[in-house]
């Protein structure tokens, strides 16, 4: 499958940090070249848009954004540029970028003890309606790669994959561990 543009999302466990607080943090990341494998370009603030991307760190490879969705803070990685390898490898690369960013954010002095991401579940979103539209068939095509990714990440195979995105939305799958950490 030629899926190249994909997004992965984590939710935070509680919402003690508001998206605009990430603006100065991302500026500092750019200044200090915090992400070694991304060419960081700029920070954009869309917090005036309900259900928008919130605070956005724009990089050449993909964008990181922190927004409030359904009352929860989410961290989304939107991969934009071409990734090498099989679908599983591509998912893995994107997921690693997301996890790395989530850890770095948790370690930020301003957010210490205020921010922690829930790693019992994550969302994978197809950003490509041509190669992976929102259909049952696409979900099934994606399932093996997602299962592989989930098994490796959770360290077991007790998880569920659920897809309930609306008809016009992108294919979006929630991967959730049934073993609580």
């Amino acid at each position: 499958m030629e899926l190249q543009r994909l997004s992965i999302k984590l939710f935070s466990e509680s919402t003690n940090v508001k998206p605009p607080e990430f603006v100065p943090v991302f500026h500092a990341w750019i200044r200090n070249q915090k992400l070694k494998d991304h060419l960081m370009i700029d920070v954009s603030d869309y917090n005036h848009v309900p259900d928008g991307p919130g605070t956005l760190l724009v990089t050449h490879e993909g964008n990181f954004s922190l927004a409030l969705a359904e009352g929860k803070l989410s961290l989304l990685y939107q991969r934009k540029r071409f990734l090498e390898g099989t679908l599983t490898e591509r998912l893995n690369t994107a997921f690693k970028a997301l996890l790395n960013a989530s850890e770095l954010l948790e370690q930020e002095p301003d957010f210490r003890n205020r921010l922690s991401f829930d790693r019992n579940s994550f969302w994978v979103i197809s950003n490509d309606r041509l190669n992976l539209p929102n259909t049952d068939q696409s979900f099934e095509e994606l399932r093996p790669a997602l299962s592989e990714l989930a098994t490796e990440f959770f360290g077991h195979d007790h998880f569920s994959l659920n897809c309930n995105s609306g008809e016009k939305e992108r294919l979006s799958v929630m991967v959730e561990s049934s073993v609580l950490n």
Partner: protein, 746 residues
């Protein structure tokens, strides 16, 4: 592998599809260095593909300038790095958009951009953070629902704007929509609009008194005028030319007080020809139509245009649309109704209704403004808004120059439910068309030319003013604030009651973001007057400026005096004294470092991120475009040869030589016919017989390749002959380039 090209082939109009294919080839040509960077820059601009801040490969991080090391060293224009994210502008003629189009716009925003659609002050949409190589597919997806990006930027006719209330406004003389549509279609890609020194902006308005069309600040503005003759209504246009904002604003001049509709298109074409021929090309700062009109004087300009009109070749399209006019009209989805007093109204409805709802000229219907903070909405909101539109009004929605949407034909009894639905998707902000509804250009967020953070300031003002809007004096409530990030006026600050444009000053040895304060611009009467410059104030003190000015207005205005008259009466001196102490007495950096930063940007302020703007585009002559096209055709011939499509390869190679000849002829006269016979004949006459085409060493040798193929016909019997023809075509085009350069010098 599937592709959007294949998937959407049957849904894209053939000519649009071909244009997009050509653009995709031009991208490839640029990548392999076969298309000049300047020609490519203007080519992509004319397809709506624009630069964005930091695309010169560097960014100041608040301490120092860092190099942005993009993977490819290639450029997509002067000092514009190939891989740098860019902007894509999407034309929405007169702001008319359908729910199906909104759905696709939303999809594209989330798949290729950042999930945001931005409505501009010209009723366009803009996407940011787009990679140039994604643009052909984006264009295809948009084209499949009838949207083009063609000529959205560059030296071309930009998106044509019109009152968003056209057809439903009680004050209009008549609905300008079908005329605006006809002129849009007529001028899009028109050969007479390809040789401008700068862009041309056109607007339509349904009446004189309101602001919606902003006719007076346009290169060309058509104002609906209805007359009665022998008991019959006759429609015409008061046509204005030579207006414009920019650094120095110009009010448009009356070209014709009553231009009949059948003359609208030919006169627009004649104006385009005169501007193309006589407009400034070298000095970009003097190249807009307003300078030509000012230089010639309106009488001489008018004379030249009418002279041109007399020699224009007839075109059926000038009047063919007029036959459809009687049938034109929007059909409401629902029957008219009234909002009964018994209905339980949702909380907040009354306030929203007061600011966002206006009665329509058709009884029982209302016009609803959906206010967008900073002109932004998310993909998710866009999709849900499309459903709301379908549910309540069918497809009658338009964007506005105030960066909002209006829904038309809302059956009045539906208003509470519509409000509740908009509230659910975060689109029920009150204060539309009031002081809270601040307009802003992209400024330093994404614009290469931005000096100050117009959006940051607009958001700050919006938040503060919204918080006190309930206690606001009615006279203040109805004022307009508009912010531009620099003197170029994209935020239309000249025509706001309170306008700002970004600049900077050095205070205590540091650069400090400032905004120049402009007061008393006239939004009404189609932007009837421009504001007065008062002074530059540090960015962080602008909210205080707004408070002082509005307080002074409330307390010192005469009975019934409006803001413009008030500003004119009290004059610059008093206004300046009102804000003078805000212009001075900066705190030290140590005392208040925040003073030295701009709104929404924690970096220390700098001017070092400003790049070279692309608004002015590149001046590329029609001949240069034709030569680039010839290059593309010979490249495509090569591709066809590789696919063993000899006949196509042969035809393309031949066409490329004919095209290059046409480019040369165009240097001498504009209306070169399309037919190969005539082109070859003209080429022989003008370039061979005169020896203009002759090279010092090869003499006329390369011209013989064209003549030979032209006389002998196709050579596609075998791969070798086609290969040879392609080589010859390439040599011919190289010689044509050399000839063009020699003639240009002479």
């Amino acid at each position: 592998m599937s592709s959007w090209k294949k998937q959407l082939a049957s849904q894209i109009p053939a000519d649009w599809g071909k244009e997009i294919d050509i653009f995709e080839t031009q991208i490839e040509l640029r990548k392999i260095g076969k298309l000049d960077e300047k020609i490519f820059a203007e080519t992509r601009l004319r397809r709506g593909v624009y630069g964005q801040r930091y695309d010169n490969g560097q960014r100041h991080d608040g301490v120092q300038t860092q190099k942005l090391s993009y993977p490819s060293g290639l450029l997509k224009g002067p000092e514009t790095v190939w891989d740098a994210p860019g902007m894509l502008r999407i034309k929405i003629p007169f702001g008319g958009v359908t729910p199906d189009q909104l759905d696709v716009l939303a999809e594209v925003a989330e798949e290729y951009s950042n999930g945001i659609l931005h409505v501009t002050t010209r009723q366009d949409f803009q996407y940011h953070y787009i990679h140039i190589e994604d643009t052909p597919d984006i264009m295809r997806r948009l084209a499949a629902v009838g949207i083009t990006t063609r000529e959205a930027c560059g030296n071309s006719v930009r998106n044509l704007t019109a009152c968003p209330k056209a057809g439903v406004c009680s004050g209009e003389d008549f609905d300008v929509t079908p005329y605006a549509r006809a002129l849009t279609d007529f001028l899009l890609g028109h050969p007479d609009c390809q040789d401008f020194g700068r862009k041309v902006k056109i607007a339509f308005s349904g009446c004189q008194g309101e602001a919606c069309g902003l006719v007076m600040m346009h290169d060309m503005g058509a104002l609906a005028v209805k007359k009665t003759r022998r008991g019959r209504d006759i429609h015409g246009f008061a046509l204005y030319v030579g207006g414009g904002l920019g650094t120095v604003p110009y009010q448009a001049k009356l070209f014709d007080a009553f231009l009949p509709p059948e003359e609208l298109l030919p006169i627009a074409q004649s104006i385009a020809r005169v501007f193309g021929r006589l407009g400034e090309k070298k000095n970009r700062a003097q190249a807009r139509l307003k300078f030509l009109v000012a230089k010639l004087g309106i009488e001489e300009f008018r004379r030249l245009v009418w002279e041109e009109r007399q020699v224009l070749p007839e075109d059926d399209r000038w009047t063919s649309y007029l036959e459809q006019l009687p049938a034109y009209g929007e059909k409401p989805l629902k029957p008219p109704s009234t909002l009964s007093g018994e209905k339980i109204l949702p909380e907040g409805f009354a306030e929203w209704q007061r600011s966002n709802v206006k009665a329509q000229k058709q009884p029982g219907y209302a016009i609803v403004t959906v206010a967008l903070p900073l002109g932004d909405l998310s993909s998710d909101q866009t999709r849900k808004l499309a459903d709301v539109v379908r549910l309540y009004v069918g497809d009658s929605i338009r964007t506005t120059v105030e960066q909002n949407f209006v829904l038309r034909w809302v059956s009045e009894a539906d208003l509470p439910d519509l409000y509740a639905d908009l509230l659910e998707i975060g689109l029920a902000d009150t204060g539309a068309n009031t002081i809270v509804d601040v307009t802003a250009c992209p400024g330093t967020d994404t614009c290469k030319l931005g000096i100050s953070a117009s959006r940051g300031l607009a958001e700050e003002l919006r938040t503060r003013l919204a918080a006190k809007s309930y206690e606001m004096d009615e006279a203040v409530r109805n004022l307009r604030i508009k912010v531009s990030g620099c003197f170029n006026s994209c935020g239309q600050h000249h025509v706001a009651d309170i306008g700002f444009f970004g600049n900077s000053r050095t205070l205590n040895g540091y650069k400090v973001p400032h905004f120049q304060v402009i007061l008393g611009g006239q939004w009404a009467e189609n932007a009837g007057a421009f504001g007065m410059t008062i002074g530059a104030v540090p960015s962080k003190r602008i909210p205080e400026v707004v408070d002082r000015i509005t307080d002074h207005f409330v307390h010192s205005r005469k009975q019934g005096e409006n803001f413009c008259d008030f500003i004119a009466r009290i004059g610059k001196k008093e206004l300046r004294s009102l804000i003078e102490n805000l212009m001075k007495n900066a705190p030290s950096f140590e005392e208040n470092p925040d003073f030295y930063r701009d709104w929404g940007d924690p970096r220390e302020f700098t001017m070092l991120d400003r790049g070279i703007g692309e608004c002015a585009g590149e001046v590329i002559s029609a001949s240069q475009f034709d030569l680039a096209d010839a290059e593309r055709e010979v490249f495509e011939a090569q591709l066809e040869l590789e696919k063993k499509n000899y006949a196509q390869a042969d035809e393309l190679a031949y066409r490329s030589m004919v095209g290059a000849s046409r480019a040369l002829i165009k240097q001498q006269y504009h209306d070169v016919p399309e037919r190969a016979e005539i082109i070859v004949e003209e080429f022989t006459l003008r370039f061979l017989d005169t020896e203009l085409f002759y090279d010092k060493y090869a003499r006329g040798k390369f011209a013989r390749y064209l003549l030979q193929r032209h006389q002998q016909g196709p050579v596609h019997a075998d791969a070798d002959s086609v290969h040879q023809l392609i080589d010859q075509a390439q040599l011919f085009i190289d010689a044509a380039h050399a000839c063009y350069a020699r003639c240009a010098v002479e």
